[in-house]
Amino acid sequence: TAGNKILHFGACRVSMSMTEIRAGFTAIKANIQARDPIRTLSILSSPRSLHKVKSSDRCCITHHLLNFYMDKVFKHCKTEDSYVNRKISSIANSFLSMRRKLGQCHEQNQCMCGQESTEKFKEILANYEGMNVTSAAMKSLGELDILLDWME
């Protein structure tokens, strides 16, 4: 569909509806980020930016992060604003289909996990678990553009 983008992860090629996800996030970005008062910590970028991860580990990190957002972020981001909630569930649905597609690559052993991606994902989990669940989930959602910028 329009705005789908083929992302290449080594031998793995996955079509992702980036434009749709971006448009959904842009619509709620200011609202979500305003709910995150902590400037001194980033779930995805502290202490090292995602951009520092080796390209060979990109597939594995992406696989981990799609699971992370599905299992630990979207479900904890209910707000009092139904418009925002609808946008969040639309983004979650797009992530669900991306996770399914990337999962197929993972099953076909085309999505190898090196030490670097394992360590980076541990950092992300540690950042997340260092906060209460709702704050950590809201901060992670507010960092969706960091993830999308890196994925692309």
């Binding site: 705005g3 983008k5 980036m18 434009t19 971006r22 448009a23 842009t26 970005k29 200011a30 980020q33 305003a34 400037r39 001194t40 910590l41 980033s42 970028s45 502290s46 930016s49 951009h51 507010g142 553009d145 960091i146 999308l148 910028d149 692309e152």
Partner: protein, 213 residues
């Protein structure tokens, strides 16, 4: 002994205005204040602990501060903040929303160079460059920043008022099968699909095809 500060109303509309990643902080003076208000500015990298003062924007009376140099790494995101002073009165620090240079910049239209033969027009498009600190610094085209960048080109036959639209990703377009001795006007726009960023259309460039020999 501590100095006693009365409170001053806050600066308003504190925000980044960014064009081709030239990132300038702008704000409006506190309501009801005329001249004489001074400001200071600080900024921080999101996810990093400390606020950093901008010396060149300390005790200034203008309502903008160029933070392009401090925010030039577009893999990072930023906050900036402004405080106002007037006759011993002080405002609070007022912050921007989180600024992402990659998605929050505006892109200027492409530059056009056109030439013609009897029956065709050749259009060469150049994407703007990312802001740089000095002319000596290496230029980075926005094409390198946004790999998915492409161009929408409009070509108008001035006589028949017929218009064509082309969408191309390389930077040269040859429009064939045109009428000799006719004026055509060309305008172009930059389009980035993700993140979604569109420039406006450029000014029209008009040229006539050569007359038939």
């Amino acid at each position: 002994s501590g100095e006693l500060y009365c409170s001053l109303l806050n600066p308003r509309h504190v925000r980044f205005e960014s064009i081709n990643m030239k990132n300038v902080l702008h704000w409006s003076a506190p309501e009801g204040t005329g001249n004489g208000v001074l400001y200071k500015v600080k900024y921080s990298v999101y996810g990093v602990g400390k606020w950093i003062r901008k010396p060149e924007c300390r005790n200034i009376n203008r309502t903008w501060c160029d933070l392009s140099s401090e925010t030039s790494d577009y893999e990072e995101q930023y906050y900036a903040s402004v405080k106002a002073f007037l006759n011993g009165m002080v405002s609070d620090w007022v912050e921007t929303t989180r600024f992402n240079p990659l998605t929050d910049t505006k892109i200027e239209p492409p530059m056009l160079s056109i030439s013609s033969t009897e029956r065709s027009i050749t259009i060469i498009l150049t994407a703007p460059e990312k802001w740089k600190r000095s002319p000596e610094e290496e230029s980075i085209s926005l094409l390198q920043v946004y790999p998915g960048l492409h161009y929408n080109v409009s070509v108008l036959n001035k006589k028949t008022k017929k218009r064509w639209f082309f969408s191309i990703s390389n930077h040269t377009l040859v429009v064939p099968w045109l009428e000799p001795g006719t004026a055509y006007c060309v305008s172009a726009q930059i389009r980035v699909t993700t993140p979604l960023l569109d420039s406006g259309f450029s000014k029209e460039h008009c040229i006539a095809t050569l007359k038939d020999k």
